[in-house]
Amino acid sequence: MLYREAGQYKTNYAADVSVFPLREDRVGLAVILFLAFCVVPFISNGFMLQAVLIPFLVFSLAAIALNILTGYTGLISLGTGAFMGVGAYACYKLTTFFPQVNIIIWVIASGFFSAAVGALFGLPSLRIKGFYLAVATLAAQFFLSWCFIRVPWLYNNNVSGAIEVPTRTLFGIPITGATATPFTRYLVVLTIVVVMTWIASNLVHGRIGRMWMAVRDMDLAAELIGIRLLPTKLLAFAVSSFYCGVAGALLVFFWYGGAEAAVFDVNQSFFILFMVIVGGLGSLTGSFFGAALIFILPIALRVLAPAVGLPLHPSTVEQLQFMIVGALIIFFLIVEPHGLARLWQIGKQKLRVWPFPY
C-alpha cells in the first residue's frame, strides 16, 4: 500500500538499472539526507555530536572500506587499523609541510598514500587465500603499528610520540583543533562520508563491483571468464585502503584531535571487523547498521545503566559491554549470518506486499 512499484514505468535503460528503482526509496533517501544535514545538527547537544554521531560516521566509512575488501571481494583483512593509521599520519605530515592548503584536500590526498601501502601489502593475495591472507594482513598491521612508534619522522620527532592536530579553517571557520565546534566538524564529516559512500555505491554496482563479487564467489571461475585476478584484487586493496585512510584522517583530525600509535592497533581492526560482520558482509547499508550497533551500544549501556537506576560500577559496565558484544555477534551469526542489512532487506520486502503476508 505504501511501498509499491505500481505506476512507476521505466522508459529507458538508465532508469531500468538504477540503484534505487522505487520512487519511495529515493524519497526515503532524500528525507534521511535532509534530516542528517539540516535537522540533526541543530537539535543535538555537543555530546551527541562529538561522542556519538561523528564517530559513528567515521566508523561507518571504515566499515565500508572493510566491506569492500572482505564483503565484496572476499579477502579477509585484519589490517584495517593500520591502514587507517597510515592515512592519519600521512594527513598529519602533509598538513605540517603545507599548512596553507585546505585540510580537506589533504584528508582526501592521504587516502592515496594509504591506498599505495594497502596495495603493497595486498600483493601476496594472489598466492594466499582465506585465513592465510588474514595472517598476512596481520603482518601488515603489526609492522605498521611498529613503524608508527619507531619512525620519529612520522610524528615530527615529538618527544611524547603522539600527534596533536593543529587548527585549520575552511572559509574562515575553524574545523579542526580545539576551537572547532562539534557542529562544524559534524557537517564536514557528514559531507565527506556522503560523497564517498556515493562513490562506493557506484563502484560496487558497476563493472568493478561485479568483478570483485566474481572473485569472491569463485576466483578460478572468474579467471576463466577473463577477469585478471591480480589487478582486481590489488584494486580492491587499494580502494579499501583509500577509504580506510580517509576514515583514519577523519578520525584523528575531526574526532580525537590528536592520536598516538595505540589508536591504530590490532584491537581497532577487530572492532571494524565486528561492525562489518554484524552489519552484513557485502552491503553498504550494512556498514552503517553495523557501525551504529557496535559503536553506539557500549555508549548506550554506559549512559543507560545509571539512568535506569542500576547501581552498576563503570568497570562492570565495561565488562558487560564486552560480553554483550560477543554474545551479539554469535547471536547474529546464528540468526542471520548476513547481518542487519539482510534483516533490513527482508523488512523492506515484507513492506512491499503489506498488508498481505506474501
Partner: protein
C-alpha cells in the same frame, strides 16, 4: 657497504664473541616456541576435527588460568587448609569447568551454525573471544594474578651452568614446560592413533558426512575435541602464568600462534610443534642480533613476516595437506 656489513657479518661476529649469550638466546627461543606451540596445538585439534578456526583459543588459555587461580583462592577462603590439596582440587574443578565450557560452546555456538561456511564459524569464535574476555573480567576481576605454581609442585628457581666463557641460565619452570608439552603431544598422538575416539576424530576430520554415515556422533566428537583443546589451554595457561603472570595481556601474545600454524600447517600436530620452535627461535635470534639495527622491538612483527614469506612459497605449511582447489 657499512650497512651490508652490519646486516650480514656483524651479527655472526657477535654470536661468536659471546657464545653463552647465543645458547641463552636459543634456549629462550626454544621455550617461547614451546609455549606458542602449545597454543597452536589447541588450534590444530579443533581445526582437524571440525574445520573451525578457533580464534578463541587464546582467551581460553587466559580463562582457564584465571579459573584455576580463582577457584584456588575460593577453596582457601572456604577453609581448605593444606595448600596442595586445595591446588589439586582447584585443578580438578577447573578441568570440570573446561568440560562445561566445551559442552556450552558445542550446544550454543557450533550446533546452530552447523552447515555455515567456514568464515561464519571463524567470526563466531571472535564473538566467543569477546564474550569470554568480558565474563573473565567480570567474574575474576581485571587485575593480574599470580599463578599458583608452587602449590602445584612446579619447580622454582633455575640452573645456572657455567659454559663457553659465561653462564647460561635455565629456568626450571621452562624445563618443566618443555617436558609437559612433550608428554602432552605424545599423549595426544597415542590418543589419535590408538583409541577408538581418536579414530573417530580422524574420521570426522576427513569428512563430516562420511563419519555421520558410519554412525559417529558429531556432537560427542566436538565436545571431546573442545574439551581436549580446553585441557591444552589449561596447561598452556599454567605454564605461561607461572613464567610471568596471569593477565589479559596474554591474549595478544597468543595471536603469535597464527604464524606458528602457518608454518606448521593447520592440520598437523607435529607441525604445530616444529612451527612453534622455528618461530620462537627465529624471533628471539632476529630480535637479539638484528633488532638493534632497526631500532629494536621488532619481535612484534617478525613472526608474521617470517610466516608471510613462508606462505609465498609453501602455502600449506611444512606438514599441512596440500590445498587442492576444485571447481
Amino acid at each position: 657497504m657499512d650497512l651490508l656489513y652490519k646486516i650480514f657479518v656483524d651479527p655472526f661476529v657477535q654470536m661468536g664473541a659471546a657464545p653463552d649469550l647465543l645458547v641463552q638466546t636459543l634456549w629462550e627461543g626454544l621455550v617461547a616456541g614451546v609455549l606458542y606451540a602449545l597454543i597452536a596445538l589447541g588450534f590444530v585439534l579443533i581445526f582437524k576435527a571440525s574445520g573451525v578456526f578457533n580464534f578463541a583459543q587464546s582467551i581460553m588459555v587466559v580463562f582457564a588460568a584465571l579459573t584455576l587461580v580463582g577457584l584456588y583462592a575460593l577453596l582457601r577462603q572456604w577453609g581448605v587448609r593444606p595448600t596442595d590439596l586445595a591446588a589439586f582440587l582447584a585443578l580438578g574443578l577447573t578441568i570440570g569447568v573446561m568440560f562445561l565450557l566445551a559442552v556450552a560452546v558445542e550446544r550454543m555456538v557450533l550446533r546452530p551454525l552447523v552447515n555455515q561456511p567456514d568464515i561464519i564459524l571463524f567470526m563466531a569464535t571472535f564473538g566467543l573471544t569477546y564474550f569470554l574476555i568480558g565474563l573473565g573480567q567480570l567474574v575474576f576481576g581485571g587485575e593480574s594474578k599470580v599463578m599458583i605454581a608452587e602449590e602445584l609442585y612446579l619447580p622454582r628457581g633455575s640452573y645456572e651452568i657455567k659454559m663457553l666463557g659465561g653462564f647460561v641460565n635455565f629456568q626450571k619452570i621452562d624445563i618443566a614446560a618443555a617436558i609437559i608439552a612433550s608428554i602432552m603431544v605424545a599423549t595426544l598422538a597415542i590418543f589419535f592413533q590408538k583409541t577408538r575416539i581418536g579414530r573417530a576424530l580422524r574420521a570426522v576430520a576427513d569428512s563430516h558426512k562420511a563419519a555421520l554415515s558410519v554412525g559417529i556422533s558429531l556432537e560427542q566428537i566436538w565436545i571431546v575435541v573442545w574439551f581436549a583443546a580446553g585441557i591444552v589451554a589449561l596447561a598452556t595457561g599454567i605454564m605461561w602464568g607461572a613464567r610471568s603472570e596471569v593477565s589479559f595481556a596474554l591474549e595478544i601474545i597468543a595471536l603469535k600462534a597464527l604464524p606458528v600454524l602457518i608454518l606448521g600447517g593447520f592440520t598437523s600436530i607435529p607441525g604445530a610443534i616444529v612451527g612453534g620452535l622455528i618461530i620462537g627461535i627465529g624471533e628471539k635470534i632476529g630480535e637479539f642480533y638484528w633488532g638493534p639495527l632497526l631500532g629494536s622491538g621488532i619481535e612484534s612483527w617478525l613472526a608474521y613476516v617470517i610466516a608471510l614469506l613462508f606462505l609465498l612459497y609453501r602455502p600449506q605449511g611444512l606438514f599441512g595437506e596440500r590445498i587442492i582447489e576444485r571447481i
